[in-house]
């Protein structure tokens, strides 16, 4: 199981860097979600399944959904062309 842990931890670092370097807000949200999912797998490997359940429900589910709603409200998802021009 050691190698799986190293792969997951490496994936965490890659995700954390990719979130801040991604230009598209929707992409960075997706990466943020996958970060939470990987984190929940790591919690299972660390033998704390209750934290894994909470991480999957809150981190990957509810937080990202709230982010999606906010992005939709500020029209960051719908109007792609306008958003690309601004940057």
């Amino acid at each position: 199981m050691e190698w799986l842990m190293y792969i997951l931890l490496g994936f965490l670092v890659i995700c954390a860097i990719a979130v801040s370097f991604s230009k598209n807000l929707l992409n960075s949200l997706m990466i943020f979600m996958s970060y939470s999912l990987v984190m929940s797998i790591i919690w299972i490997l660390l033998e704390s399944p209750d934290l894994a359940i909470t991480e999957a429900a809150v981190g990957a589910g509810v937080t990202s959904v709230l982010f999606f709603v906010t992005l939709k409200k500020i029209h960051a998802i719908d109007e792609k062309k306008k958003g690309e021009k601004d940057e």
Partner: protein, 322 residues
């Protein structure tokens, strides 16, 4: 109505002014503190002059290629931020390398507190899951604060994002604020998947809450699962369906009942424990579903509050009310 002073001299006292203000007859700040409408600034120059000045300003300030100060500032800013991030990473990694290895018996966290939790936890709390026994029995006060934090967070979001209702009871038709008009109507794939999966999610959440003292999980995890299931249901079927069973009133009742029950039950048990009295709450046989005293009802309370909070957050973000 008798007064010690004459009417004219009474008029000058502070009490008279205070009662006048209290009865709402006169507001002493009315017309004093409000911002008065000032004169509008009129530009006397012609449009060409304005345009010219704007262009000059833009060239001077925002022309990065020729403005040396901005160029220099950008360079320094980038270097400083990179150096700061690297330094922070270095310091944190250094601290990690100094911290003791996990599982070492000589670690500072291996004192009498976790030993007591592990040795006497089952007898004292009756919970097979020591984590739940810890957070809902030994440290129940902590969990009470956490659930209140969730409640206060919902209220804060409610204050910030709420849409006021008109006098007629209709919501203001602000297109931006009300998200209902943009809901995708009757998405067949989403609805059929939701019909299958939402009951399973909610039953799993209830299972996690009810078995909080027996297996990993508890109020927070189960409540988050139920909240996620409710959000999925809301997304699939829209607000009209969820408002049949979950409105602002439901939220108020559930949160008030859960938090006050938690508060009263734990106050009772703390009071009895502090005075070395028998609380009279049976612990039951460890491993049975109805055991471990107050932990099961407290778990249900926390789970209800968390589920309501999750749903309320989403509903408030979507349409400013629920």
């Amino acid at each position: 109505m008798s007064r010690l002073k004459e009417w004219d001299s009474y008029k000058k006292t502070r009490a008279y002014r205070f009662f006048r203000w209290y009865r709402g007859e006169k507001d002493p700040f009315l017309g004093e503190v409000e911002i008065k409408e000032g004169k509008l600034y009129k530009d006397t120059r012609s449009e060409e002059e304005i345009q010219k000045e704007k262009e000059e300003l833009m060239n001077k300030v925002y022309d990065i290629d020729h403005n040396k100060e901005i160029k220099f500032f950008k360079l320094v800013y980038g270097i400083i931020s990179a150096v700061f991030c690297l330094a922070l990473t270095f310091v944190l990694l250094l601290m990690v390398s100094y911290s003791p290895k996990t599982g070492n018996p000589g670690n500072p966290n291996e004192n009498e507190v976790p030993a007591r939790y592990i040795e006497n936890g089952l007898q004292e709390t009756g919970a097979v899951n020591i984590v739940t026994g810890m957070i809902l029995d030994y440290r129940a006060f902590d969990t009470l604060g956490e659930s209140h934090v969730l409640f206060i967070a919902t209220i804060t979001v409610f204050i910030l994002l709420r849409i006021d209702k008109d006098e007629k009871g209709k919501e203001k038709d602000r297109e931006e604020a009300n998200d209902r008009n943009y809901e995708p109507k009757n998405d067949a794939i989403l609805q059929i998947i939701a019909v299958i999966i939402v009951p399973l999610i909610i039953i799993f959440g209830i299972y996690v809450i009810l078995n909080g003292h027996l297996s990993p999980g508890g109020g927070f995890s189960g409540g988050a699962i139920i909240g996620a299931g409710l959000i999925l249901y809301l997304n699939a079927f829209g607000f009209a369906k969820t408002e049949r069973f979950f409105t602002e009133k439901t939220y108020k009742i559930i949160c008030f009942c859960s938090l006050s029950f938690y508060c009263l039950a734990k106050s009772y048990s703390f009071f009895m424990g502090a005075n070395h009295l028998e609380s009279g709450i049976p612990l039951g046989t460890p491993g049975a579903i109805l055991s471990s005293g107050l932990i099961l009802p407290l778990n249900i309370c926390v789970g209800l509050v968390v589920a309501c909070t999750m749903y309320a957050f989403y509903a408030l973000f979507r349409k400013g009310g629920f």
